[in-house]
């Protein structure tokens, strides 16, 4: 590390260049962090998805199926627990601010016990018809705290009284879970059911199942599909593991897109840092000749150039990923709520990829200048003839 003062002097020889390079690298790595962080989120969702949880919903859409379907599903062999839910889609104030409330019944805890909602909190919601429990992301998005009123408009769900507004009371706020990247809101099934016109009551949009054994859940899903195939209510069934396995965002391959963007950012800074280090070496060619003359080996000179090139890359990568981490936490606040992307996660893999990319950019940038230094003719370099 005795080279450090030399390297520092080299970097700070042109402070404007050093700072601008650092800023540019930082910005590129902010983007890198957000993009690869988004990948990490999709990976985590796929990994944490439960093999023993199964979703089933009406195959041909519509208003839902009679709640009796849930009881029939419960009787299928291999099914441990069953809960039924209704969806309340709508918006807050403006149609752009989309929101989605899952209206759950008294069995919810037996199937969604891992959602971080305590038995007491489930109880509060199940006892209070207008009560809801929100995850932190949603609470932050709508600026709600416990005790606040939450009002939304739904044009999809017809109310018996003809109104489109729905008022809720926020009873609890819980931590988010990786499976629900966009947060969640749970409400009370009875509220939506009793608000509907009589003809629409007693229907559910989705039945969720916990299988006895994760290994047999695919077979259970098939059994459900078969049971209802020729009934008045054909069902479409899928395990949570399968549903969350793709990198799928509405049919787009999100991984391919985020990787492409991150790569383009890296390509951009590669040119910048490569050019910067080449210029810096060119300007100090005679100085390097002096170093070699007084006994610095090729290896020592190589290390110095690599370190000089690596300094802005590593520092920029650290700063950039740091900024990305801060930004990711602020996304629910910064983004309009119609922006339905999950939040990027700065997992250890993201840090490893960022560090590896920073080193690669540094090495590639330094490669050509190093080659020139190795082949330099000391005598002519010292006399400034190159």
């Amino acid at each position: 590390m005795r080279y450090l003062p030399l390297i520092w002097a080299a970097v700070m020889r042109k402070p404007t260049r050093a700072i601008l390079t650092l800023l540019s690298v930082t910005v590129a790595f902010t983007l890198f962090g957000l993009m690869i962080g988004l990948n990490a989120t999709f990976d985590m969702v796929a990994e944490k998805a439960r093999a023993d949880r199964i979703f089933t919903w009406p195959r041909f859409g519509g208003n839902g199926v009679p709640v009796a379907v849930a009881r029939q599903v419960a009787a299928i062999p291999g099914v441990k627990a069953v809960t039924a839910m209704n969806f309340l889609p709508g918006y807050v104030q403006d149609p752009k601010n989309q929101v989605f409330v899952l209206m759950v019944d008294q069995n919810v805890a037996s199937v969604f016990g891992d959602y971080g909602v305590s038995p007491e909190q489930w109880n509060m919601v199940l006892k209070d018809r207008t009560g809801i429990v929100m995850s932190r992301i949603q609470a932050q998005r709508w600026n709600k705290k416990i005790g606040d009123t939450f009002t939304m408009v739904s044009k999809q769900i017809k109310r018996a009284d003809g109104k489109t507004g729905w008022d809720f009371k926020v009873l609890a706020i819980v931590d988010d879970i990786p499976q629900a990247g966009n947060g969640f809101i749970f409400g009370n099934y009875d509220y939506i059911d009793k608000a509907k016109p009589l003809a629409d009551q007693g229907k559910v949009n989705e039945v969720d199942i916990l299988a006895d054994d994760p290994a047999s859940s695919a077979a259970v899903a098939e059994r459900i599909d078969r049971k209802f195939a020729n009934s008045a209510t054909p069902m479409q069934t899928i395990t949570e593991k399968l549903a969350r396995s793709g990198n799928d965002f509405g049919g787009l391959d999100i991984k391919k897109i985020t990787r492409g963007v991150a790569l383009a950012g890296m390509f951009m800074v590669l040119f910048l840092t490569g050019n910067g280090i080449a210029e810096s070496v060119r300007e100090r060619f005679a100085e390097f000749a002096t170093l070699k003359t007084i006994g610095f080996s090729d290896r020592a000179v190589t290390i110095m150039v690599v370190l000089e090139s690596a300094l802005p890359c590593i520092l920029g990568a650290a700063l950039g990923v740091g900024i990305a981490a801060v930004l990711a936490r602020q996304i629910p606040k910064l983004m309009p709520s119609g922006f339905g992307m999950p939040l990027p996660t700065m997992s250890p893999m993201v840090l490893v990829w960022a560090a590896a990319s920073a080193f690669l950019v540094a090495l590639l940038s330094a490669a050509l200048p190093i080659l020139r230094l190795r082949q330099m003719d000391i005598a002519s370099a010292l006399s400034g003839r190159t």
Partner: protein, 385 residues
């Protein structure tokens, strides 16, 4: 003055070759920025085109009051004749109104990669082809009213499995054969179409979703709208079909467009720092040359302008390269988002957008260096080694 700007700029560009790699920082920076941004925007732009193509100013759509999508809307059997008998609707050669009660529903399909997706099953009546003349059968035949058979769009064939003529689709009352393939130049190409009455029976539904009418002329919309909205037996919203699609296209493409602009902005900031770096460095390399010009009597302003011009030229060149890459990779490619099929699009409008961004980056990135170049004392610059 303009002569001075021209001469100084010409001198700059002649010396560009000696600063080739340095200049490439700007070109590559903008190429990457604009390439990535336009690639991402090709999704929202393509989707918008597909949706907007589906809207026709000669048509009007009737939905239940306040509905924001076809799926949300519901038109009862009792309401339908009140709508189709209203004034302002074009008539076919038998004098019948060109108005169709349409049905839409989601239906699960198998994507090419084996995952489960869903697409729209649309029900049309025998008036359907008259209201939507853009539907053209390219293989097989049209479905027959009253029969349990379907036609599929060419887009659906590309994106989903088992969509050939002769394949069958499972509906609640059994298997329906596919008898034809159609093109329409809009989002319908990703969907399946069957007879609305037969579909209603099959799916145990009672209500239609929308009524789509062909207007007698573009100007009869008001008369048609007035007749429906003043009828106390109806609670509906009437909208020109093109306006309807413009409105929902904005909502559908919102997230994707926003994502494209955010990524574009972040990359542009990165490119801006690169541009500043290059231009500062260019100004300092050419310090003596600039000072010589100043000593010869050239003004500070032409020198500053020439620096900015150089930045603009390099940026725009980069933006064009990036736009061309995005265009060659993605323009016209078929894609799928939220169950609608469309072609990615990198259009001249987006080329323009890319160039505007490049000019903004160049102006910001060239300004400070140009001021430094113009203000540097001549004597000091001439003495510098």
């Amino acid at each position: 003055m303009f002569r001075q700007i021209f001469i100084v700029s010409a001198l700059n560009f002649k010396s560009l070759t000696s600063r080739f790699w340095q200049s490439m920082v700007i070109v590559v920076g903008l190429a990457a920025t604009i390439g990535v941004m336009l690639s991402m925007l090709s999704m929202s732009a393509g989707m918008r085109e597909a949706v907007v193509n589906a809207g026709n100013p000669n048509r009007a759509i009737v939905v239940s009051k306040g509905a924001d999508s076809e799926g949300q809307s519901s038109i009862t059997r009792a309401m339908a004749p009140l709508i189709t008998d209203a004034p302002g609707i074009a008539r076919d050669k038998d004098g019948k109104p060109l108005a169709d009660r349409e049905l839409t529903m989601g239906i699960p399909v198998l994507r090419r990669d084996g995952s489960t997706g869903s697409t729209t099953m649309r029900g049309l009546s025998d008036k359907g082809p008259g209201v939507r003349p853009e539907i053209r059968i390219v293989q097989g035949r049209m479905f027959q009213p009253g029969r349990r058979e379907l036609i599929v769009g060419v887009g659906a064939q590309v994106m989903f499995q088992q969509m050939q003529v002769g394949d069958t689709v499972i509906l609640p009352d059994g298997k329906w054969p596919i008898v034809g393939v159609f093109t329409s130049g809009d989002t319908l190409e990703g969907q399946m179409i069957g007879d609305s009455e037969t579909l209603l029976t099959s799916t145990h539904k009672t209500n239609y979703n929308t009524v789509l009418v062909r207007l007698a002329s573009q100007d009869t919309l008001d008369a048609f709208k007035k007749a429906l909205t003043t009828n106390p037996a109806l609670s509906v919203t009437v909208e020109r079909h093109s306006d309807w699609y413009n409105r929902i296209a904005g909502r559908q493409t919102f997230t994707l467009a926003l994502l494209g602009y955010i990524v574009g902005t972040v990359m542009a900031i990165g490119a801006l720092f690169g541009c500043l770096n290059t231009m500062y460095s260019a100004v300092s390399t050419r310090g003596r040359e600039i000072a010589t010009l100043r000593a010869l009597g050239y003004g500070a302003f032409p020198v500053a302008v020439s620096v900015i011009l150089e930045a603009v030229l390099l940026s725009v060149a980069g933006a064009l390269i990036g736009a061309l890459i995005a265009w060659s990779l993605y323009d016209g490619k078929q894609s799928l988002f939220n169950n609608s099929i469309f072609h990615l699009s990198v259009s001249p409008t987006q080329f323009k957008l890319g160039i505007i961004w490049a000019v903004v980056v160049a102006l910001l990135g060239g300004l400070l260096p140009s001021i430094r170049a113009a203000r540097r004392p001549v004597v000091e610059a001439l003495r510098a080694t």
